[in-house]
């Protein structure tokens, strides 16, 4: 298996805050990799650097061998990023939004339509895609955005808390889609989450991070045996030291 993402000694300083403090991890091709950590642990910062949005203060990230700083535009053509807090253009309809996003990847009109069809299935929004985004609920918007991120079959999907704001039913739906879709299309996923259940269900491997550093990495099963815990929540408490 080849390496999809390789992060080495990432440091990111915002003024007086050291958001990342020597973070390293690597993701195999076709893997779903989860970052878990408390609020402010640095998850979003790590994902943003991987997505070429922020520049690392020091350290490197390579996506399929491309450096996110030096070869940012090549990296952008390989990835698809779902921000933690994201919106869609509220004066466009769901369909128009998907078409707009699809047209950056698709070669022609037919290809655009194909992508939009895929997205329409992932989102499960059906007829509502014809309505303006303005009138969508938070969950509907999130489903639209998840669909947008996955429709293009990127080589790497970077999903920051993909199910935030979704109810139980739709969380299950979206998780199912990510898992099935990813395995079928051979997409690699880097995601972050607070939901240990979700991470346990979705991820092949997880990294526990705290204060910008990795505390432990491994598959959920490995971590549970290593820390003699019944679930990831306990592992987390054990590692971070609040249990």
């Amino acid at each position: 298996m080849s390496v999809a993402v390789e992060a080495k000694d990432l440091v990111k300083v915002f003024g007086s805050v050291r958001a990342l403090d020597g973070l390293s991890f690597s993701i195999e091709n076709g893997e779903i990799f989860g970052l878990i950590g408390l609020n402010g642990a640095g998850k979003t910062t790590a994902l943003r650097i991987t997505s070429t949005l922020l520049l690392p203060t020091s350290g490197t990230v390579k996506v399929f061998g491309r450096d996110v700083v030096e070869e940012a535009s090549e990296v952008r053509s390989l990835i698809s990023y779902l921000p933690e807090e994201a919106g869609a253009y509220k004066n466009l309809s769901g369909n128009e939004y998907l078409k707009f996003m699809a047209s950056f990847r698709a070669k022609n009109k037919d290809a655009v339509r194909e992508l939009v069809d895929v997205a329409s299935e992932i989102s499960g929004l059906g007829e509502r895609l014809r309505d303006k985004v303005k009138g969508y609920s938070k969950g509907m918007k999130r489903r639209l955005l998840v669909a947008r991120a996955l429709m293009t079959k990127p080589k790497l999907a970077v999903l920051d808390e993909p199910t935030s704001g979704l109810d139980v039913l739709h969380s299950v739906h979206v998780r199912g889609i990510i898992k099935r879709y990813v395995k079928k299309q051979g997409v690699t996923v880097l995601l972050s989450s607070h939901n240990m259940l979700e991470v346990e269900y979705l991820c092949d491997r997880v990294a526990l991070i705290n204060k910008g550093r990795i505390l432990a990495t491994g598959s959920p099963a490995e971590l549970k045996t290593r820390y003699k815990a019944v679930n990831l929540e306990d592992v987390f408490g054990e590692v971070v030291g609040f249990a």
Binding site: A86, L92, F104, R105
Partner: protein
């Protein structure tokens, strides 16, 4: 690459045009308000004209002499309807005039004819009823006094003819026959300079005001285009798309330009309708053929004006976009861009009221350093023939735009666009602890 640019432009235009905050001022004001204003002015002017057509004046003749009789004959000849008032009770006459909607009341005192015939000055009272109406009402009330002055002129002619029977009253009153002409570009032209000034002033006020409005409008659009991406949290997604960041910037600029130009055209249509609705009542151009006296805009001057305006638009948008990078939401962006209006208002006022070269040196340098002065100067090029100033202005604005665009591209190209913000935290009212 161009396809990506096209995508962004289409999306920008859709977003801007569907935004009621932008659509309303762009469509409602120019296309509905202006014609409505024009209609209102037109109808009231027509009403006023009709009113002048049928002036009726009450006359209380306490004199009964020949000159009073003469005045009445003159008024009738001028198409005035005369209502004789025989009762010398003024109070009653007043309420009668007011109630029956007469234009005014002339009271001819006794001894009027005698005084005039003896060559003295005689009093004559003119009353105009006050109805609290608009401007047109005041013109109708002054109509009575104008008629009386006309009559007075007749009396003057009469007196001159009596004293100097051998001379003509017009020559006595006008020893000099003044004929005013102009020199344009070294050529004598048989046109009154007042008329020319009027023309130039109307051109050099309307154009700078129009340019200023277009630029302010475009800047607000461009600022909104970036800031709304932040406010709606769509910017991060946009920045991770496989498209050159400069294309995103260019797409936003183009979208704003398109919408601003459409808005400007709507304003022009509305405004020309507005002005045309009452130009019928005001003499225009006084029959001056601009082409014949060499003042009609040539193709070159049109070209320079257009180029100059386009560069000003581009530099205004680049400036607005660079600034809006520092705002967190639309309101913040508009607050940042708002103060830039001074850069339009300042040159506008000076170009309307003075010639820049006549200003003190430091002031004119400051004005010329503001890029938006140049389109206003270029708008005068057909009058001044000063093509060099216009070309210099275009070059200056090009350099300015390239620098600002470079800065904007730098801001867009790095993480600055996500992390840069002006901190107003000190002013926050919701500070905890």
């Amino acid at each position: 690459m161009l396809k990506g640019l096209f995508n962004i432009v289409v999306k920008e235009v859709k977003e801007l045009v569907r935004d009621p905050k932008i659509l309303l001022p762009m469509i409602i004001i120019p296309l509905i308000m202006f014609p409505l204003m024009g209609f209102a002015i037109q109808t009231s002017m027509e009403a006023a004209e009709e009113g002048i057509g049928k002036i009726s004046i009450a006359v209380m003749d306490l004199d009964g002499g020949p000159v009073a009789e003469n005045l009445r004959i003159n008024l009738t000849n001028w198409n005035v309807k005369i209502v004789e008032i025989d009762d010398p009770d003024l109070t009653e006459a007043f309420s009668y005039v007011q109630e029956s909607n007469l234009t005014g009341l002339i009271v001819i005192p006794s001894g009027f004819s005698q005084n005039i015939t003896e060559g003295k000055t005689s009093e004559l009272e003119v009353y105009a009823p006050f109805r609290g109406g608009g401007i047109t009402e005041s013109t109708s009330s002054s109509a009575v006094s104008s008629l009386v002055s006309l009559f007075e002129n007749n009396l003057i002619d009469q007196r001159i003819n009596e004293r100097f029977p051998e001379s003509n009253s017009t020559t006595v009153l006008n020893p000099i026959a003044l004929s005013e002409k102009s020199i344009i570009n070294g050529k004598g032209v048989d046109v009154n300079p007042e008329v020319l000034f009027g023309l130039v002033i109307s051109q050099s006020t309307i154009i700078p005001v129009g340019i200023m409005m277009l630029l302010i409008f475009a800047m607000q659009l461009a600022a909104t285009a970036v800031a709304s991406e932040k406010e709606e949290k769509t910017l991060e997604t946009l920045l991770t798309l496989p498209i050159n960041r400069f294309m995103i910037l260019a797409g936003k600029l183009t979208g704003s330009i398109i919408v601003a130009v459409v808005g400007a055209i709507a304003y022009l249509i509305g405004f020309s309708y507005y002005t045309s609705s009452f130009t019928g009542a005001i003499p225009t151009d006084a029959g001056v053929d601009l082409a014949a006296i060499g003042l009609a805009p040539t193709f070159l001057s049109y070209l320079l004006m257009g180029l100059s305006l386009f560069m000003a638009l581009l530099s205004a948008l680049a400036l607005a976009i660079s600034l809006s990078v520092f705002a967190e939401d639309v309101r913040g962006a508009q607050a940042l861009v708002g103060p830039l209006s001074i850069l339009f208002v300042f040159p506008m006022i000076f170009t309307i009221f003075t010639d820049i070269s006549a200003l003190p040196f430091p002031l004119s340098v400051i004005l010329l350093a503001i890029p938006f002065t140049h389109p206003m100067l270029a708008a005068r090029v057909s009058f001044t023939g000063d093509y060099l100033t216009a070309i210099g202005g275009i070059l200056y604005m090009t350099v300015f735009t390239v620098i600002v665009l470079y800065i904007a591209a730098r801001l867009f190209g790095t993480e600055k666009i996500l992390t840069a913000k002006l901190k107003f935290r000190r002013f926050s009212l919701r500070r905890k602890k």
